[in-house]
Structure formats: structure tokens, C-alpha cells
């Protein structure tokens, strides 16, 4: 029987030997792990030794779209990359929008597995299924925009390019992989993994149509989902009009918008860098991913030119987190990060950490809160590992550790925290502490229930019931990341719709509960891998500042994260023991016997 939704094919590229092979993926693996994050985790967990050096030859990089990619389902233009992270040491996946994932899928592949290391820089082309390695002398040392342009000039405008910038080449631990110029596989340093393999770029072109099991049903479910997208003010008005920066004022008014390395939780100048201010002053247009009605990306114009972005997290990390409230500086810093191939969140938080270390007299880099020129200089120094940039290029955990002040690193498992102060969002605190990839808000997206009322508004200060809610959110997020669908669409369209959509696309009978179960399986697999990598329960925590120092002022003043109680409940809910190890029964129930630790 032919496959629908999936192609059933993976492409394996061994950079050490230069061999390229096609291989079939087992149908059971596809139905069990779906695609994207799930399929990536499944391949990494089987093929990458947990104890390996993330920047060694044994690490592999797995790119994977999902069964919904390229089908016309709203928000399903995404793909993910998975590997062992050089920043966190955890199993890691990062996903991005744009058009690259659609073209990879239309080139005939559910997964692209990159292994080994090239002896000299190369780039890979995959054009309608046919793959080839090329010497990369003409693009190595180029930034991401120039690399994209050079390859499009050479192969035509109908390709999409994923590439690394100088940061990836220089093995910066939080180097990103960029596609379509401003779309980022941002977090976790997967760009450094690519750089270590001396793989500069992957250009794809694909024209193969994705086979759909039941187009009529799919059209009906898309029509129904579209009703919700158009009716929900988040997806029909807030995001289209203001983009993700629409969150700036909201979180500042809740008193959970961190500033100056989380020393403050309200930023007085937030109004000037908010979505409303950006829309009023510098926005010139909107952009979106493939087949997405929301169009949340912005084009902005400053005295330095027209740029894409910045997004909410980037505004915060390169702005208030560093004590900076100048919009033009933030736009420029964001653009520099994109060109150089740096994760904006980790870049900003690491520089913010250096600023506080300077303030406390523990480090002498000259970086001070509010120093806009210093921020821009530091970004360049990090990407090229020049001067103090070499120290910062290892991330905030390493930086603060070397200064004997680990507590000043605002990170979990080595991944820098996002733009929400969890002291005023208790569930977010638990979500960050237990996240399998470190300090990431998207693993549980507790922003939904604690701030946006999705699916329902809950008391953000309460710890009661947060363990169960966090687990549900984590599981369903893992499934959504495997379909792979944009999280914003998921704010309007629930898994009940996506289970039906997935069934219509693949012809496999999925129910909402199947997505929850798949998500749970992915979560536990990631957990088991991390445990085997040496990341035990002691890593399920938050920086001491968030556990011990109450918020000083604003609507959340006096709050700190009450983690211990929630964590105990969380382990119990997950059927993990007191050391955070999944029980044998749970492992068996999820079919993960081969991965127990």
C-alpha cells in the first residue's frame, strides 16, 4: 500500500566518506513518531550515543518535515532539526517556518540525516530528490544573507537555503541555522553542529506533490479550522497586525517582563518597543510562512535599511534584558544575529549576564546595562570569537561558571531563559525547570493558560494543578511539533482538529488521545536520552534568583517560583520515581524498553 502524507524515504549523507544513500523508513516508525521532532528524536536516540561529544564525529543532525508539511494545512510549513546540543548536552530539536521544509518534503524526503565530518567546507544540494555535495569555498566565511543570495544566484530563485553564518563556522555554542534569510532554527547551537561538520548550507528544490489519503475530508477540516483561525482575535487580529511583539505590553503589565538579567520584572520603556509602537513607527509590511493565513512576520524600516523582524523574544533579549530600550538598536542587533547566525535569545541573555557580572565586579568586559554600542560590538565579537566574545560564545552557564558566579546565569540545563519571569507565572516555572531541552517556553507553552486564556485562564500565581496542566501541555506540544504545525495556529485550533486532519492526510486513524500518547512517548524518550547523557533530576531546577529572590516591584511583586512542591507532583504524575526516572511500567507502556537507563 502506498503512503499518504509521508514519503517513506530518508536521505543519509555521510560527510566523512561523501556517500549519499536513500533509505526507506518503516511505516510503524512514521505512525508512532509522526515526523518533525518525534521522528528526529527517534533517529537521534537510536543513532547518536548519549555520551558522545556534541561537536564530535558521532553526533548527527536530522532534518525532518512532518506529514502535514506541504499539504496546505494552515501553519504546517515548518520543519525541525534534531541533534545532541553542544550548548545543553541534551537531545535537542529546533523548528522553523519559511519554505525550506516544504521543499525538502516535496523533494521526496521525510528525513535528512547528516553524519560524519567533511575534511573541507561543503554544501549540499537536494533538487527534486537528487542530492549532491559541493565544495563550499565560495560561500564559506559568508554571512547567512550572502550565502543565501550566492546559492540562489547560482541555482535559481526557486530553491530554499538553510545555512550557517560565521558563528556556526566558529563553533559558537548557540549558533543558529537560518533559512529564507530570517527564519531560524535558533536554539541549542545546532548551527555549531553543522559548522563542526563543515557543512555550510543545504539548498533544496522540490516539486513533488504530497499524496493525500482523503482530499475531500481534508478540505472540510481545513475549512473548519480556518473558521477558528479567523474568529480568534489572537490569530485573526493580534498577530497579523502586531506580530509576536504584541506580547510586550501584555507581559510588562503583568509584571513578568524581565529586565537587566532578571533583576527587574517590569521595563519602564516597554511601550516604546511594543508591537503597537513597532506597527506605528517602523513596520512597512507583513510576511508569513508557506500557506499560513496569520502572516505574523514583519518588515521594518530603520535608518539603516529594511529588515525582517524582530520577534517578541528577540526584542526582549536584545533590549530590556540588556537594559536597552532603543528600538533601532534592537532591530539592528536582531539583524546582526540573523546575518551572523546567532540565536537571539541566548545572545542577549549571555550579554545580559556579562553586564551583571561587570556590575557586580566579577568580570571586566566593559559591557554595561544600557550600552547599545557595546551590545552591537559584543554580538560581532561572539560570532567571530574575538576578545571577550570567545568567552561569551560558550553561553551564560559557562561564562558565569568561569567567574565563580553560576547563579547569575539565567538558564536551565544550559539553555538561556526566554522573555517571561516565571516568578509571576508558576506553571511556566515548572515548565522551564522540567523542559527536556532546557530553558524553553515552547515545550509547555504555559503562556497559553496562564496569560492568554488558552485553553482556559488559570490563576498564574497558584501552584495547584500546575503539574498536570504542564504535563498535558508538554505532551501535546511534542505532538504538534511532530506534525509539524506552528504553535500560534494551535492557539486557535486544538488537537481535536489536528487528529482529524492527520487522519485525512495519512489515511491512518488518529484520535486526539493518540496525539497525547505520541507526545508522552516523545517526552519520555527525550528524558531517557538525557538521563543516559548524565543529566539527572538535579538539572530540573531554575536559577537561584527565581527560587529565592522575590520580584521587587510591579503587579507580581513578592512572588518567587514555588518549584519543590510542583516538581514532586510532576514526577508522580509522569510515573517517574523521586529521582525523575521513568518507571519500568511507564517505559513498557510507551514501548521504550530499549532506551531505559
Amino acid at each position: 500500500m502506498g503512503l499518504f502524507g509521508w514519503t517513506g524515504q530518508a536521505l543519509r549523507v555521510n560527510l566523512s566518506s561523501g556517500t549519499i544513500t536513500k533509505e526507506s523508513l518503516a511505516q510503524k516508525d512514521l505512525t508512532d513518531w509522526i515526523g518533525g521532532r518525534g521522528l528526529g528524536a527517534w533517529i537521534v536516540a537510536r543513532e547518536v550515543p548519549a555520551g558522545c561529544d556534541p561537536l564530535g564525529k558521532d553526533n548527527k543532525l536530522v532534518f525532518a518535515p512532518g506529514p502535514l508539511t506541504g499539504t496546505g494545512v494552515p501553519g504546517a510549513g515548518r520543519f525541525s532539526a534534531s541533534a545532541k546540543s553542544p550548548l545543553t548536552g541534551t537531545i535537542f530539536d529546533s523548528n522553523a517556518g519559511g519554505t525550506w521544509g516544504v521543499r525538502l518534503k516535496r523533494s521526496g524526503y521525510d528525513a535528512l540525516i547528516i553524519e560524519g565530518e567533511a575534511t573541507a567546507p561543503v554544501y549540499l544540494t537536494i533538487f527534486d530528490g537528487r542530492a549532491e555535495l559541493h565544495e563550499a569555498g565560495d560561500v564559506w566565511h559568508s554571512d547567512t544573507l550572502d550565502t543565501n543570495k550566492k546559492l540562489k544566484d547560482k541555482f535559481g530563485g526557486d530553491i530554499s537555503v538553510s545555512c550557517i553564518g560565521p558563528a556556526g563556522e566558529n563553533l559558537v555554542k548557540f549558533a543558529s541555522i537560518m533559512n529564507d534569510n530570517s527564519r531560524a532554527l535558533g536554539r541549542g547551537g545546532l548551527g555549531a553542529v553543522m559548522g563542526k561538520k563543515k557543512l555550510k548550507a543545504i539548498a533544496v528544490r522540490g516539486s513533488q506533490k504530497v499524496a493525500i489519503a482523503n482530499q475531500e475530508k481534508l478540505d472540510f477540516f481545513i475549512y473548519e479550522a480556518d473558521k477558528w483561525i479567523r474568529a480568534n482575535p489572537i490569530t485573526s487580529q493580534g498577530l497579523p497586525e502586531f506580530g509576536t511583539p504584541v506580547l510586550v505590553n501584555l507581559f510588562n503589565e503583568l509584571g513578568v517582563f524581565p529586565a537587566r538579567n532578571f533583576q527587574d520584572s517590569v521595563f519602564p520603556g516597554a511601550g516604546k518597543i511594543s508591537g503597537e509602537a513597532i506597527a506605528r513607527t517602523i513596520t512597512t509590511g507583513r510576511r508569513g510562512c508557506y500557506h499560513c493565513p496569520v502572516q505574523c512576520a514583519r518588515l521594518v524600516k530603520t535608518r539603516n535599511g529594511v529588515f525582517k523582524g524582530p520577534e517578541y523574544e528577540s526584542i526582549w533579549a536584545l533590549g530590556p534584558e540588556c537594559g536597552i530600550g532603543d528600538l533601532e538598536t534592537i532591530v539592528e542587533a536582531n539583524h546582526m544575529c540573523n546575518r551572523l547566525g546567532l540565536d537571539t535569545i541566548t545572545t542577549g541573555v549571555t550579554i545580559g549576564c556579562a553586564m551583571e557580572l561587570q556590575e557586580k565586579g566579577l568580570l571586566d568586559t566593559g559591557l554595561k546595562f544600557g550600552d547599545a554600542p557595546g551590545l552591537l560590538q559584543a554580538i560581532k565579537q561572539i560570532a567571530y570569537r574575538e576578545d571577550a566574545g570567545d568567552l561569551l560564545a560558550e553561553g551564560s552557564r559557562s561564562l558565569a561558571g568561569k567567574c565563580g558566579a553560576s547563579g547569575y546565569a539565567m538558564q536551565v540545563k544550559g539553555l538561556e531563559l526566554p522573555a517571561y519571569d516565571p516568578r509571576g507565572l508558576q506553571g511556566m516555572g515548572l515548565g522551564l525547570a522540567t523542559s527536556n531541552r532546557g530553558g524553553c517556553h515552547l515545550r509547555a507553552y504555559m503562556v497559553g493558560p496562564e496569560a492568554l486564556g488558552v485553553p482556559k485562564m488559570v490563576d498564574r500565581f497558584s501552584t495547584g494543578g500546575k503539574a498536570g496542566l504542564t504535563i498535558t501541555q508538554q505532551n501535546i506540544s511534542a505532538a504538534i511539533d511532530s506534525l509539524i504545525v506552528c504553535r500560534f495556529i494551535n492557539l486557535a485550533v486544538t488537537e481535536e482538529y489536528f487528529a482529524r486532519i492527520l487522519s485525512a492526510v495519512t489515511g491512518v486513524d488518529y484520535h486526539p488521545q493518540d496525539l497525547h500518547r505520541t507526545g508522552e512517548r516523545i517526552w519520555n524518550l527525550e528524558r531517557l536520552y538525557n538521563l543516559r547523557s548524565g543529566l539527572d533530576f538535579s538539572f530540573d531546577t531554575l536559577p537561584p534568583r527565581l527560587l529565592e529572590e522575590p520580584i521587587r516591584e510591579g503587579p507580581s511583586s513578592g512572588r518567587k517560583v514555588e518549584l519543590a512542591q510542583m516538581l514532586t507532583e510532576y514526577y508522580r504524575f509522569r510515573s517517574w520515581d523521586e529521582y525523575g526516572v521513568p518507571s519500568a511500567a511507564k517505559i513498557k507502556e510507551l514501548g521504550l524498553e530499549g532506551f531505559s537507563c
Partner: protein, 196 residues
């Protein structure tokens, strides 16, 4: 302000005019609109459930506003209303599925409402079609039923719009009960309201 919303929201719920999380209320405040939060429980409104945003333009609060924000805005822009109540009264919804207009057969209903138009639309929730059609009808009628969905009532204050909602449901209950008792009931006294 919060007390008004709480009082009317609670009454709407207790009177069975809304289910636990359905319906929404708003008032116009100059060029601003205060509307209930998306997914809020009208029977238990708190401070975080009232969302203020622009009447004509969005700001960041839009992401928390009721799904029907577009319809509320259109009503304020197209009528002189200062308050809007949207509810899901069951008898009225039931009748709206059968009739193109609802003509009261009881004295008070006829006196207060005369006739309630029933509006059909392909999409009835957060719908651009309703934004276009409802304001015109609400210029002439105090309350309009959207077929199979619910009522939109206008007033100078929330209590007034609530009254039309409550009256509508009473009208429809009386029609339902009367038809149950005598299936082919028709009252010539109410025929005139067809031309209302």
C-alpha cells in the same frame, strides 16, 4: 464598571441565557471598548476578565478580547448603542432555526419587541458577514437573532440590552409552550407585527 458586568453576567448565566463560558458583554467608552475576555465565565467575572481595547483600532489587548470583538465594534460603529449583550438563549435559538423572524404572541413581548429579525450567515462566530449585516438591523431593532447561534442586543447601558435579551427568551418560551399545547396556533392579533 466591573460590578455592572458582574451583575449582568451573573444574571444572564443564572437565567439560563448563557452556558458556563458562552456569551459576551461590552460597553462603549468614547473611542474605547470594554469587552469580556475570550473564554471568560460571565457568571464569575473578575478584574482580569474585562479587556479594554480600541473601538476602531487594535492594541495589544486584542489578543485577550472576546471572539466577537469584531461584531461588537461593528455594532458601535453602525449604531448609537453604548452597550451590547450577546447571549445564547436556548428557546430563541431553537425557534431561530425554524423561523425567518420571531413575532411575539404575548402582550409584553409584543409591546417591548414587536418583531425580532433572524439573520442567517454561513459563518456565525467571529464572522465578518455578521459585522456587515448586524449593525443595519440593530439600527431598527433592539435585538436580533443570529440563526442557530444567539442574540445580539443593544442598549444605552448593559441592563437595557440585558432586558431585551431576557424578554426575547420569554417571548420564545411562550411561543414554544403555546405551540406545544396547540400545534396549529395562530393569533391574528400578532399578524400586524410582520410588517413592523
Amino acid at each position: 464598571m466591573l460590578k455592572d458586568f458582574q451583575r449582568i453576567g451573573r444574571d444572564l448565566f443564572l437565567a439560563g441565557l448563557n452556558s458556563s463560558h458562552s456569551g459576551n458583554l461590552s460597553v462603549r467608552y468614547g473611542d474605547r471598548i470594554i469587552i469580556t475576555r475570550r473564554g471568560s465565565m460571565l457568571g464569575h467575572l473578575g478584574e482580569r476578565d474585562l479587556i479594554e481595547t480600541g473601538l476602531a483600532s487594535n492594541d495589544g489587548n486584542i489578543i485577550l478580547a472576546s471572539t466577537e470583538i469584531g461584531v461588537h465594534r461593528a455594532i458601535y460603529q453602525g449604531t448609537s448603542a453604548l452597550a451590547v449583550v450577546h447571549a445564547h438563549p436556548v428557546h430563541a435559538i431553537s425557534l431561530s432555526l425554524l423561523e425567518d423572524e420571531i413575532i411575539p404572541i404575548d402582550s409584553e413581548g409584543a409591546y417591548l419587541l414587536h418583531k425580532i429579525p433572524v439573520l442567517s450567515a454561513e459563518r456565525t462566530i467571529g464572522s465578518a458577514e455578521l459585522e456587515e449585516k448586524l449593525p443595519g438591523l440593530l439600527q431598527e431593532f433592539k435585538i436580533v437573532m443570529v440563526r442557530g447561534h444567539g442574540s445580539f442586543a443593544v442598549g444605552q447601558m448593559l441592563e437595557e440590552a440585558y432586558q431585551w435579551t431576557s424578554s426575547l427568551e420569554n417571548v420564545c418560551r411562550i411561543i414554544y409552550l403555546t405551540r406545544t399545547l396547540k400545534r396549529d396556533f395562530a393569533d391574528k392579533r400578532t399578524e400586524k407585527y410582520k410588517e413592523w
